[in-house]
Amino acid sequence: MAFLSFVIPGAGQFYLKERGRGGSILAAALVQFGLISWSLNLKVAQWTVGRLTTSWLWIVVGLFWIWNVYDAYNITQGKSGSGLIGIFLTAFVIYVIAWQVTDIRLDRLVTRFGNALKILNDIIHPDLFARDASGHWIPSENFGYIFGTIQSQPVPDILVRLKLVSAGTLIPGYQAGKIVETIALGLMATLFSTILAVPISFLAARNITARIPGGVVIYYVMRTFLNIVRAIDTLIWGLIVILWVGLGSFAAVIALTIHSIAALGKLFSEEVEHIDAGPIEAVTATGANLFQTIRYAVIPQIVPPFLGYTLLRWDINVRSATIVGMVAGGGIGFFIIESLRLSAYTQYAAALWAIAVVVIIVDYISAKWRESIEAGVVQTSAAKPRPFYTSLRAWFFIVIGVAAFIYCWNLSGIDLKALFEPAPTFWQLIRSFVSFNLDPEVTSAVIAQMMITIFQALLATTLGGLVAIPFSFLAAHNLMGRSRFSLVIYYLIRTLFNIVRSIEAILYVAIFFYWVSFGPFAGMLALSLTTFGLIGKLFSESIENIDSGLLEAITATGATRFQAIVYGVLPQIVPPFVSYSIYQWDINIRMATIVGFAGGGGIGSLLYNNYFPFGEYRSAGTAVALIVIVVAIMDFASSKLREKLI
């Protein structure tokens, strides 16, 4: 048996009925082999013996081989060793290659530390306030760009026509700032995508399509379509949309809407698939017609979850709206790009702070609102609820809602005519996009950059996750005592997590390219920072959710707090931590596809710097297709893996 494993790794284990183990060993060996051969001509892990240049990683592969034979031998002896050594060796190969491919230069962190201090200083001194002539602190000019200004403007035409005021009168009016525009973009995109996702989701739901002729085909077409559109990031959509309607807020709204339709369409259709057939049967049995059945048995079941997802999407759309402007124009993203172009880091810092405030508020509102929908209105009194049109409050909200809609519509520069007059290049783009460029130099460049993207995500998840672990313990209510000091620490770290995760990784790239210069290393660090905030929150929440009984029991034996954590907490948190890390890696791959737009390397830089500006749409199509494939595989694999873990 050991011999079998010597010929083909894992074969012996497989033969000995350890199917899973054998398969994993073979897969690991193939991954190592593939990665090393691929990285050879990238001068990774080079090793020159005499005239032969090869990779020293082959030694590790050799060790893995030996371990695998030994493992097979162990199994024949009825012992089963742990797989840790094999996992460690495989991980070692992957991390060494990832490290070199993403061009990690730890020395720069130190040698260019001065730059880090400089940018840190700018960040804590954002350009928001300035002293006026008499030495008072007032909002700076930059503050006005971001949050808006009060300016004199002509009175609305209608008042003049009504002869209420004379023409040419100036009144104080509010000139919206970039962050307000960003909020408007997020709102409009959420509204449009919800409306469009509803019909699409019905066509992507198995239980609905089963009832119509040709439904199976429609189902698979819709599902594939949704998966492809969802895999392409909003910013990549932005690159495409600007050729359609031109640079500006409207392009930003469209890009956000397209991605959001696909994300919502998937969630909605899953909800439709899970509706309870019982009420439908019951209402049909009363003699109701199809529309009545939908109204009384289907809609009440789907409206609350749809609303919940829409609110969640609103939160995500506001976050995306902060960056979509970097390529599509409009919103604070565009402002940030302009500031960076002028190396105006204090203005950039001001924008980051503004984003953090807005995103945290939106996050909070959306979460609270979702909670109340989840709980539902459980009325227990016998009193009949008043119909909404008699409630003043309802009318107040309706009026506010309509006004907000009109305001946001104008602010986001929506111009439906533009949809029907795309630039001629747009058709060229569509045509070239689907006729992929498969020249060897293009495919090898695309694959190399995609590997960098995947590795960036892997390293960022590892780094961000490792740093987040100690912090997450300090941000867990149940582990921290009740003393004032630990409460202060708890709130400080929670706030840190919330601020850090409210800003998209791509916005952090500027900080790191200032520190370590452009490239995948900067992108990786930016991803790590966001990862730290996102995963830190998830980790600390999963610590808070552990079963406290065990902790109590261990503390009761007289153990110290540290011992209690090691024996009572660790065994319970490892599975959720691993599961969240896999989830985060999946998210990070998506984010890593775009960090290159801001100088963070990877496949995004190929698209943004090499293909789109020069109209090489066929090559761009190849890159996007690979992104779709990788994201789809990761999405599938990560959800399967996590199902197994929990």
Binding site: A282, A285, T286, G287, A382
Partner: protein, 252 residues
Amino acid sequence: MLRVEHLTKIYPNGTTALRDVSFEVNDGEFLAVIGLSGSGKSTLLRCINRLIEPTSGRIIWNDLDVTAAPASELRNIRRQIGMIFQQFNLVKRSSVLTNVLAGRLGYNNPSQSLLNYFSPADQKLALENLEQLGLADKAHVRADSLSGGQQQRVGIARALMQDPKLVLADEPVASLDPVLAHSILKYLEQMNKERKITVLCSLHFLDLVHRYATRAIALKEGQLVFQGLPKEIDDAQFKAIYGQEAERVTII
């Protein structure tokens, strides 16, 4: 009067759930349908109002051929046949009153009901029915905040809104504890006696059949194996219906 003639149902996957079943139900009867799990009780009840399309055979109700009725006539027939389900089948997030009013949909103008409009007469009727079932104070709470027994009573109120001449009850008490089972069946009995509504009810426990039904039919593997008075089900009949190993069990 309901006449079922040579009813056969073969599911698309090839399962024959009903095999040439024929029987009659006179107006005002309380007919129990018994049989092992999988014998075809649910299929039979759902064929009667065509929630499931029969494969062959006919169902004649008050001289109307249900099996041949076009869509609009079928809705007309359905609204006169109430249905009660084992899992209650209420819209959980809607209020109790809305669930009850849904029983009226077959009578109402579709475009009005889409706007959630129900006439004052309907509203009054709904509240009266809830009152009768002891749920007057629950009209405006969410359906899923009620207990199982209460939910089933809402289901009965919904059926009553249809002003039905026939009620099909598919194991209405199988998800309830024995005490509640009796209370629900008493409501059905009351409907049957006071409103002269014919009841077709599938039941699992024989003593419930003895206590409430005026007549019983039994299915075994989709075939009708017994037809008669409940007290005629002796030990031999019992074994024929439920198999040789079966033991009689009693619930309070």
